[in-house]
Symmetry: C2
Subunit: 212 residues, 2 copies
């Protein structure tokens, strides 16, 4: 069975989105800076239907993450913008007609509905909790990894439940001064970490940890 | 003139001390884990009058930091324990008879007093603010760096004032879940950062940033 992981960009002060998220700045003030390393990478651009971009260590990290993950789990806000500031269609999601996943996605929600197929990505809606979503995701993933995409609160739920095998944080060289913290509300049983690998990228520092 | 820097160990969730600091655990619950990488390093042990320890990348980072800094600035709590949980002598400080600095230290305080000489470390008490302390420190340092040792609130004061040229964070592979955040209360004018260097140590990841 593959590992349960997450991959997320974080500011040096620990935020995955800046303060004061709004329709104009859905990632909060300064939040886009967290992802500049990815936006500049050729294979991120390719996965999102854009051309150009750079090769290098940051780009290799993108390629590796794309290759490793066979299935994605996400929260309903990340799927739809429902309740979020960007106000996209809560039914079709905000990922467009050809979402960048190209594999099964399981969406944690309270509202049962049929699986939605968009391009070669399927969104399956799971109403009976994070363990059930993980079981379904692992069955679909086979030997590949299950990636918990977010948001931060979904990642925190899986960390609190002790279900995460490891993760990679992409530390952007930016201070946001506030926003959505990644490692928040983890309860009292914190995972014990070991560094698995460090990559000094051109625009971010990528550290992969094992939860032991 | 040398650079103004700081070197500090931080948890992956951004804390420089854990929650619930007490006399038994002055660095808070789990806080000692932040410094395990240093405690294990031969040259940290040597600088603190102990034998043994390991060579390697972590140890090289210690040696480099010791060599670079010519003068240290610290807050009065860091000097004395005054107001802190460890309850050491507020007059002599809690650094013992041979403090590990071996160079001039400037202590920010509201209480004027004579310079204190302990071993080959001098503690000069500055009552007229962080800029004055920095001027005196730079005069004493010559071409060497001025290291702002802490606590976190002193580092934050220098960051807010735009007086820091760069810094190194030693990211320990640990989540503390609470405690004393390093990058807090920085105001609205946040420094712009560039990664200067990444060292993947045996027990911590060392990232040096420039403030540009």
């Amino acid at each position: 069975m593959g590992r349960v992981t997450f991959d997320i960009s974080m500011s040096l002060d620990g935020f995955v989105a800046g303060p004061s998220a709004s329709h104009e700045e859905p990632l909060g003030v300064g939040g886009l800076q967290l992802h500049e390393w990815a936006f500049a990478a050729a294979r991120w651009r390719e996965a999102h239907g854009e051309s150009g971009g750079e090769a290098g260590a940051d780009d290799d990290v993108i390629a590796e993450a794309v290759a490793a993950s066979g299935v994605t789990i996400m929260g309903r806000h990340m799927f739809s913008g429902e309740g979020g500031p960007w106000g996209e269609d809560p039914f079709m999601g905000w990922w467009g007609e050809d979402p960048p996943f190209h594999h099964p996605v399981f969406v944690l929600t309270h509202h049962a509905r049929e699986t939605l197929e968009l391009g070669d990505t399927s969104f399956t809606f799971v109403t009976d909790g994070i363990e059930s979503a993980l079981e379904q995701a692992q069955a679909a993933a086979g030997e590949r990894d299950v990636a918990v995409a977010g948001g931060a609160n979904v990642i925190q739920q899986y960390l609190r439940a002790g279900l995460v095998d490891g993760f990679q944080v992409h530390i952007a060289p930016v201070l946001l001064g506030g926003g959505v913290p990644l490692f928040d509300a983890l309860g009292t049983t914190l995972p014990t970490l070991e560094v698995e690998r460090v990559v000094a990228g051109e625009r971010a520092t990528h550290i992969r940890y094992r939860c032991v």
